[in-house]
Symmetry: C2
Subunit: 414 residues, 2 copies
């Protein structure tokens, strides 16, 4: 038996620590492109299994890029809790072999709700560095085979189990606290939260792959069943099955594969404490600010240069915090900006044109790569009824937990 | 509801498919060094938690390299089944913040028993590519808080659950089949398997951090309690708690941190089908052969140039198969080679001088990085009673499941 001789540092010393060790890519690194995308529908699919969903998305992405499985030099899979949801672990080679991909490195990345964001970050980095030319990145989650209380328990494990979870604070409760504090500090109202939900449902209703294609009214959103005050059921994202995949290659080779490559201008991943009580200010996420700062720097852009975004609206308040932390608006102005319709499809900076996690669905491990697909669909002008006018530069922001992991990606039409 | 419109490829077409897409690092990539190592004891520690174990190993590795947490540019964590064993998921930022590391990317890698091997592979690749200068790689598993049948169930999830596991084939049964076939095909005997166990227990007894520091006789090994014929309890590795960590940096900067750097000459990760029945020949692992071929090529060495090795002896038969697949001996000669004592501490090519998974212990997610630490300890001449004579070049082989993931690393004293 051993005693625990070390002690944990109690908390970060402030926002500046987030930037320590964060550097841009070295100059010799290659520009990277997304050359293929593929998504399953998101929803509740009782007769689909995890492997089948992931394989469908991967095959669609490879078909979109016009490549064969034998051309895939490495496979990156984002998955949060496949073993807990389905009983199957060691998922990366399992999914890879389901597509006929063997021999090459096949690795699962877990960073909770940002799992496939993290997989994408590492894949892009490997291609930028010249380690690989053609890689496949997938994300998948199969959630609906478990009853809702079990799903909530599995999701809660992305928070600090020995502290928050033991005290009964699941994610709806944690984000309710964030919402309450945002309301207190900045005057954010229930209507502003509901405006996120109304907008995202409106967008999702136009998305053929969305889980809940249902338009809702402000009145419905305000009078939803309470989940954790002030959040109602219309403030919470969905429990979904689904998968997404992208093929990444050096930009210089993109024309070999596609006439519609998307350029990855900048990307960063950052982390922070899991527990909410370790944060100085719960209305902002240091990891989001750090990742955005680095991704923008790498991309050579300012927040004001971003035309549209897919952000991680696990709860409505999370979208408001996200557009603030991404620098689209000043701190505290996310609520009014949303209520004024400026993030709608025809607004000045559309946010979550896919319907977001709220309406499109949130198969946790698929969400990060799914956002990349949704950005590329807009960049290509393929969004149909949801197509926005200014669609040449977009951002994806994939968060986890109450801000302990964040991946920010800046993409541009070529 | 959707139907499954795709079909799985039924199996790989043979060993050659393993080499598709496998390339060496581009020439501009930098040589990489291990500049710090740290391990906890492996064992059953009822009063230690997963985070505490991982933090202890990480802090030891940082102290060994003489670096502060603020110098760590990214954190790579290997962990197989923390959520199932402990209920806590989203482990990478949880462990990172426990060491005072925030802001930077902190990602968990899961590749079953090769989880920290995969984390190490991706970390080395990032440093070689110039993405980072100083990264910390950890591996951890906390297993003993679950009863043994539950541990077996959690481990079995690294196999194909819908097929093998449903049919009742846990890993002892699968490796028993491999052993039986190896015996049939090559005349491998029970004594040869037992010789692996006797040697590894002898080595582990000399390792202060080993789980079971107990010398056993050939008679004991042959008469152990049956687990899955022909394997007895002495053919099976241990269920352990533990953690290991290494600090990786470019070789050109190693002298800033340590007088004892180890150079990473070559590394590769490869994958294959999970299920044993997808293999043409169950006495050999294609993923091991593929990873070894690439790692040797990158290192510019032949198998005959390797002086010693840490291999993945999850079962005694796995060590015999490993030394064959790594090319130390011809196929089928691993058993006699071991029985003749040629892999002992004073043999021509010592294998598992640490005691291996059999005696040192097998905290699954810690095993890959633990092997790297054990190779570095020999390279430095710090192995005490276990120190071997020719210790300038060693190989670590980290396997998972019945061969679906393998990472091979070649290290050399500077």
């Amino acid at each position: 038996m051993q005693s625990q001789i070390f002690s944990y540092p109690s908390r970060a010393t402030g926002p500046l620590t987030c930037l320590i060790g964060i550097r841009s890519y070295p100059d010799y690194m290659r520009p990277v492109a997304i050359i293929g995308i593929g998504k399953t529908a998101f929803g509740a699919f009782p007769d689909r299994d995890l492997r089948g969903l992931a394989v469908e998305a991967g095959q669609k992405a490879m078909a979109d890029a016009g490549i064969a499985p034998s051309q895939v030099e490495a496979f990156y899979l984002g998955n949060f809790a496949g073993p807990s949801f389905t009983g199957q672990n060691h998922l990366a080679p399992y999914v890879a072999t389901g597509m006929g991909i063997t021999g090459v490195a096949a690795t699962r990345f877990e960073a909770a709700c940002a799992s496939s964001g993290a997989a994408f970050y590492h894949a892009v980095s490997a291609v930028a560095a010249g380690l690989h030319d053609v890689v496949l990145v997938g994300g998948v989650e199969k959630m609906t085979s478990q009853p809702t209380p079990k799903v909530t328990e599995i999701l809660a494990a992305a928070g600090e189990v020995s502290g928050e979870v033991k005290a009964g604070a699941t994610f709806p409760a944690l984000f309710a606290m964030i919402a309450r504090r945002h309301m207190y500090q900045y005057g954010t109202s229930r209507e502003m939260l509901a405006a996120v939900s109304v907008k995202n449902h409106s967008n999702g209703a136009k998305n053929p792959l969305a889980h809940m294609r249902k338009v809702i009214t402000m009145e419905q959103a305000l009078n939803g069943k309470p989940i954790a005050e002030p959040l109602t059921v219309y403030d919470c994202s969905l429990i979904s099955d689904g998968a997404a995949a992208v093929v990444v290659a050096p930009l210089e080779r993109a024309a070999e594969f596609t006439r519609q490559p998307a350029r990855l201008l900048g990307i960063a991943q950052a982390s922070d404490y899991l527990a909410l009580d370790e944060k100085d200010d719960i209305t902002t996420f240091r990891a989001v600010q750090a990742a955005a700062a680095k991704a923008y720097k790498m991309a050579g852009v300012q927040a004001s240069d971003i035309q549209f975004a897919e952000v991680h609206d696990c709860f409505t308040i999370a979208e408001i915090v996200a557009i603030e932390d991404l620098g689209f608006v000043k701190k505290g102005e996310g609520g009014p900006y949303t209520l004024e319709g400026r993030t709608c499809l025809r607004g000045e900076r559309p946010v979550n044109t896919s319907g977001g996690l709220k309406s499109k669905g949130h198969p946790v491990g698929a969400t990060g790569v799914g956002q990349i697909c949704d950005i590329v669909i807009q960049l290509r002008g393929d969004a149909g009824e949801r197509q926005i006018k200014n669609h040449s530069r977009g951002v994806a922001q994939n968060l986890c937990g109450s801000g302990a992991t964040c991946v920010v990606s800046v993409l541009e039409a070529v």
